[in-house]
Amino acid sequence: MNKPSILMRLFPASGLKILNWGLAAWTAIVFVFLYLPILVLIVYSFNDTTKKTTSWEGFTFRWYVELSQNSTMISALKNSLIIASITTVASVIIGTVGAWLLHRYQYRFSRLIQTLVCIPMIMPEIIMGISLLIFFIVLRMELGFVTVTIAHITFCFPFVLVAVQARLHGLDPSLEEAALDLGARPLQAFWLVIVPCLRPAILSGALMAFTLSLDEIIVTFFTTGPATRTLPIEIYGKARVGLDYTLNALSTVFVVTTVVFVFFSEYLRKLGARK
């Protein structure tokens, strides 16, 4: 096994270089694979055609106008944004406080609690969906806004908790002690000293909760009622029928928002790193 491989023998010095070029080429191909469909989607949102085909007929903003006048889409978007916002706020509160308590106190069941927190993160979405559906029905709760929001909070807050926990592990424990020594009450110490230190983690956890909630379909599918349609449910219903250029327009809006989002959070991260 100690003999150098054929590749290394043929190109003794440049073996690694060749490997590197190969990796670079492969990465480029994968990025094309990742971005080409999105690009196609965006280009076709400007296609001026009435047919359900993919032939290019000219440039238009028609689909965007149509999208802005589509009241079911708009109300679905509104529902999604409201649910995602409530979910994010609740997740940040539960997740941050939970992470802090699990960090500060050694509960008798700490490990059990930690495992419980992990379950909604890793559990298959469909299992969560059907089990919550049965649960809500057994409790005779009406499916709709409240049930969806409860479901979303349940799978979103653990992500905030884990993000904050990772940050807490790197935190100097003497920070809190110093605050307490200087006369701060425990709640003051938490709010004035610990929370500011955790801000980057809270922020990225919040971002994660928001996007997870906005994009979720499986759990939503089972826990929502006919009156509360979210955007993914609406998109799914339309995409099942086939090509629909208003969907392309909507997707373009979404992708552009995502790109702005990612750049913005990267900017925040850099800002945080500089401090």
């Binding site: 491989s5 590749l7 073996g15 490997l19 590197n20 492969w26 990025f31 990742l34 469909p37 999105i38 196609v40 993919t54 539960i94 308590l101 960090h103 500060r104 106190y105 050694q106 509960y107 490990r111 609690i113 930690q114 495992t115 419980l116 927190v117 992990c118 909604p120 993160m121 890793i122 559990m123 979405e125 469909i126 299992i127 059907i130 089990s131 049965i134 649960f135 479901a151 909070i153 349940t154 807050f157 653990p158 884990v162 993000a163 990772a166 592990h169 990225s204 956890g205 994660m208 499986i218 998109i235 799914y236 995409a239 099942r240 086939g242 392309n248 979404f254 995502t258 990612v262 959070s265």
Partner: protein, 308 residues
């Protein structure tokens, strides 16, 4: 940053929880009161629903589809009916599709993750952002994008015809091929990010040492790099394999329901057939499968830790 966030989340899921820090105190009443809402929330909306799901899977239903609380094995007997194994076949197919997707994600994503991890920091961050944008874009939208490409009058057919590679349009939508493409496209970033998280931590000198000790590139890869990046791979497997089994939206959109997966069958039992107990039994079997996959990954991880 999100990438680290995802890696943290997935690693927290695959590694054993470490909560006890040496300066942690025993909680008094106040501490218990504060944690109580979260624990209650989890008990109410995670544990209780799962228990009810288990109970339901042993119940019967009446002719109107209402639940009858009477014990029966029948729902499970129907799944494990070896004379007429339609549900076992569906289950197997779902596992197969998810398995193929996971394998392809590793094969395609690993080199990318490794390449990104070996770059200078500025280049690395830019490439990572390129992975993150599709990661954060709605997977429904990304699946829909493929309909434009793969449909009968779609771009790929147009391109292949114009290039005279095929005489007429191929039927690519609503085939197993389309399902795998859809799943692969949706989950690839979920494999790249955690593997990147592990690959970034691999010390270059370890790889050099392997070379110095006479290992060829393949042996260095299999004996040094793979074990060191296993946490990322296993997190990726959990993030891709498990969701892919139950993902009915993609199989429905790309497969057109011609290839029913376990997710589609469960969804059907709850919404159309209205046989909730049977749907619950299917759900329980799926949960057991998931626990098995999870235990496997944990076992491999603990073995790896042991070896190091």
């Amino acid at each position: 940053m999100q990438a680290t966030n995802v890696t943290n989340a997935t690693n927290a899921a695959t590694e054993l929880p470490t909560t006890a820090t040496n300066h942690a105190r025993r909680p008094k009443l106040f501490g218990w009161l504060l944690i109580a809402p979260m624990v209650l929330w989890l008990a109410l909306f995670v544990v209780a629903p799962l228990i009810i799901l288990l109970v339901y899977s042993f119940c019967q239903r009446d002719d109107l589809g209402r639940i009858v609380y009477q014990f029966t094995w029948e729902n499970y007997a129907r799944i494990f009916d070896f004379e007429n194994p339609i549900y076992l076949r569906t289950l197997w197919l779902s596992i197969l599709y998810a398995g193929i997707t996971t394998a392809l994600c590793i094969a395609i994503g690993y080199p990318v993750a490794w390449f990104i991890a070996r770059q200078r920091e500025t280049v690395r961050n830019r490439l990572l952002m390129l992975v993150m944008i599709p990661f954060w874009t709605s997977f429904l939208i990304r699946t829909y994008a493929w309909i434009t490409i793969l449909s009968h009058n779609g771009l790929l057919n147009g391109f292949l015809e114009a290039a005279k590679i095929i005489p007429g349009p191929l039927e690519m939508m609503y085939t197993p091929f389309a399902v795998v493409i859809g799943l692969l496209y949706a989950y690839l970033p979920f494999m790249i990010l955690p593997i990147y998280g592990s690959a970034e931590k691999v010390d270059d000198s370890l790889v050099d040492a392997a070379h110095d000790l006479g290992a060829g590139p393949f042996r260095a890869f299999s004996d040094v790099i793979i074990p060191l990046t296993w946490p990322g791979i296993s997190a990726g497997i959990l993030l891709v394999f498990v969701p892919a089994i139950g993902m009915f939206a993609i199989t429905e959109l790309m497969g057109g329901g011609r290839q029913p997966m376990i997710g589609n069958v469960i969804q059907n039992q709850f919404l159309k057939a209205r046989n909730w107990p049977f749907g619950a039994a299917l759900g329980i079997i799926f949960t057991l499968l998931f626990i098995l996959a999870y235990a496997f990954v944990q076992y491999r991880a603990s073995k790896q830790n042991h070896n190091q």
